[in-house]
Subunit: 344 residues, 2 copies
């Protein structure tokens, strides 16, 4: 079925409020999930909501906290996430650090023990909107096998980079796994096989069955180089946030454990060289206009496709799975009250 | 022929001194080139020396300068490289910034108009040896085609990450091209074809001829994701250093133009969480000990192979091309028969 942006935001916000989030916190968490849907990444969208609600009900998420911030050094804000919602804890810290960047030039936020961030693009877009360069890194459960290995030893360890220009910012957001685990879950939920080369099963053998893949390991992207980047992000995040390493991480995909992964955000003031933002956007325009391999499929710059999809979804709404819609509505206590009324 | 580490360092240092570098500057530039040879990356080794000497003779490199440093903000050191040798300008700035990191927590060096850095691993290893996390980024001439494109629009834009642990640091150093351009040059110089998928010719068609590839474009690594990372580094470096963008960059591979690419180094104090360095090295040990795909080929961590090769070369010397040896000797105003005796 098709859902409008406004209806999706209203539903997600209400559900989160009904489960204990303040209005502001509910609205931000909802925004992150709905934007992922609009950009064409349903694996990071509304399908995450039932898990979030369940974690809130079990006390594994405290939807009221922004975590505890502490200046570890002049330019480093360390945050104990205290089981807060990922986007709430992260944005509160980014907003605390940002006003200092004109003096400092660069600053870092290191978060541990907050919940899942959703798509990292959200954070570097917010940082780019402040006129700053942003880098975001996050860790996760061990889901990815090393290059040359067969067992899940690394997180999917995404990296996002945002660079403001005179026009739209460049927005890169990629998992260092060949696909995010959410995509494997989405295949499993919709009963579709996964392509060859995406994953190994628990015995270390190649599989196209998403359920076997969930019990096994996803491949890193780009062979040895992608693996190298993934394990470097694993160590970077743990070294800077003091958070758990892949094989000890829990709580981004389950409803049993506190979330103990780490998140890192770097904010940097760009050079003040005259004309620089225009030079950056002119370069991106030249890349887009360069000859394409396939006629009619122009060269894109990171962030282009997501921006186009988001704009289309803003006008026309977006498709969601009918059963997900029903699940979400069933989670609303106002619906539960009706059942209780019927019982008495 | 086989060369010892000491003989290689002596030859390279003397050649650079004879062409105007101070002893210290010559020794550091030589160290960077010889270490690349020892690690098994001859494309970034002594074969770069004739070009460096030629650029010094033509005034395109000033081997005496460390560049001009200026604090752009409390934690950002901006450097006008003034045509200095890449390693000299970079290490001088890193050493200026490093003593401030305990107070700042994070700091950045942004360099423009310095010469080629050589392998980025050198810099993050030096930063890790100070107990700090290091990130290094650099840009280059347009040599890489976009994913879905056919024309060279991006630099090979390498990234290096170093993370200290209780044992050896993790050291990642990768070009975002499928191979560095130096490797294509090395194939051309030694008359060997390149594998399928590495490059397109000037007309945008796949080629295995390294000479046609030099006139064309190298593929990004890892398809869309590797391209995304490469163009994000392109923009990051230009935005932070105010340097030229790929299609306007000159001087890392030619003997005609001043070098106008940019370099960025980020230094970060790790979390002081108790036991963290030991946790990091225990994790890396677990990754190395995890099941491997091919029996007898254990899983490696970025930096392992280079470290093994360097140790072996330190004991046993390393192979260099006989004609390169002769070229290098011919470049010395005093000729070098004395070094012949040091061949091992």
């Amino acid at each position: 079925m098709r859902l409008s942006e406004a209806a999706a935001l209203a539903l997600a916000t209400r559900l989160l409020e009904e489960h204990g989030a303040t209005r502001d916190h509910a609205a931000l968490q909802a925004r992150v999930l709905v934007t992922a849907e609009m950009k064409g990444h349903p694996s990071h969208g509304l399908c995450r909501l039932p898990r979030l609600v369940e974690r809130m009900e079990r006390g594994l998420i405290d939807p009221q906290t922004k975590g505890t911030q502490r200046w570890r050094a002049d330019a480093v804000l360390e945050v104990e996430g205290s089981a807060g919602l990922g986007p709430i804890v992260a944005m509160a810290a980014i907003e605390r650090l940002a006003p200092h960047i004109p003096d400092l030039g660069i600053g870092l936020v290191a978060v541990r023990n907050a919940n899942h961030l959703g798509m990292l693009a959200h954070y570097v877009e917010a940082i780019a909107a402040m006129g700053l360069v942003g880098i975001a890194l996050s860790s996760s459960e061990a889901l990815v096998h090393p290059f040359g290995g067969t067992q899940a030893m690394l997180g999917t360890n995404p990296i996002a980079i945002g660079v403001p220009t005179a026009e739209d910012p460049l927005v890169l957001d990629l998992a260092t796994s060949i696909v995010p685990m959410g995509r494997i879950h989405h295949h499993a939920a919709t009963g579709r096989p996964i392509p060859d080369g995406w994953a190994l099963d628990a015995a270390g053998k190649p599989t196209t069955d998403p359920k076997r893949a969930k019990a096994g390991a996803i491949a890193p992207f780009g062979d040895a180089k992608g693996y190298g980047l993934g394990i470097a992000i694993e160590l970077l995040v743990a070294a800077l946030a003091g958070s758990a390493l892949a094989t000890e991480v829990h709580g981004t995909l389950d409803s049993q454990s506190p979330c103990n992964k780490g998140d890192v955000f770097i904010l940097i003031e760009p050079s003040l060289a005259p004309g620089l933002p225009t030079r950056l956007s002119a370069y991106l325009a030249a890349v887009r206009a360069s000859p394409s391999k396939v006629a009619g499929e122009p060269v894109l710059v990171p962030g282009d496709r997501a921006r186009q999809r988001r704009a289309a979804a803003s006008r026309n709404g977006f498709e969601i799975n009918q059963s997900l819609w029903e699940d979400l509505n069933a989670l609303s206590p106002s619906r539960i009250l009706v059942f209780e009324g019927q019982r008495s």
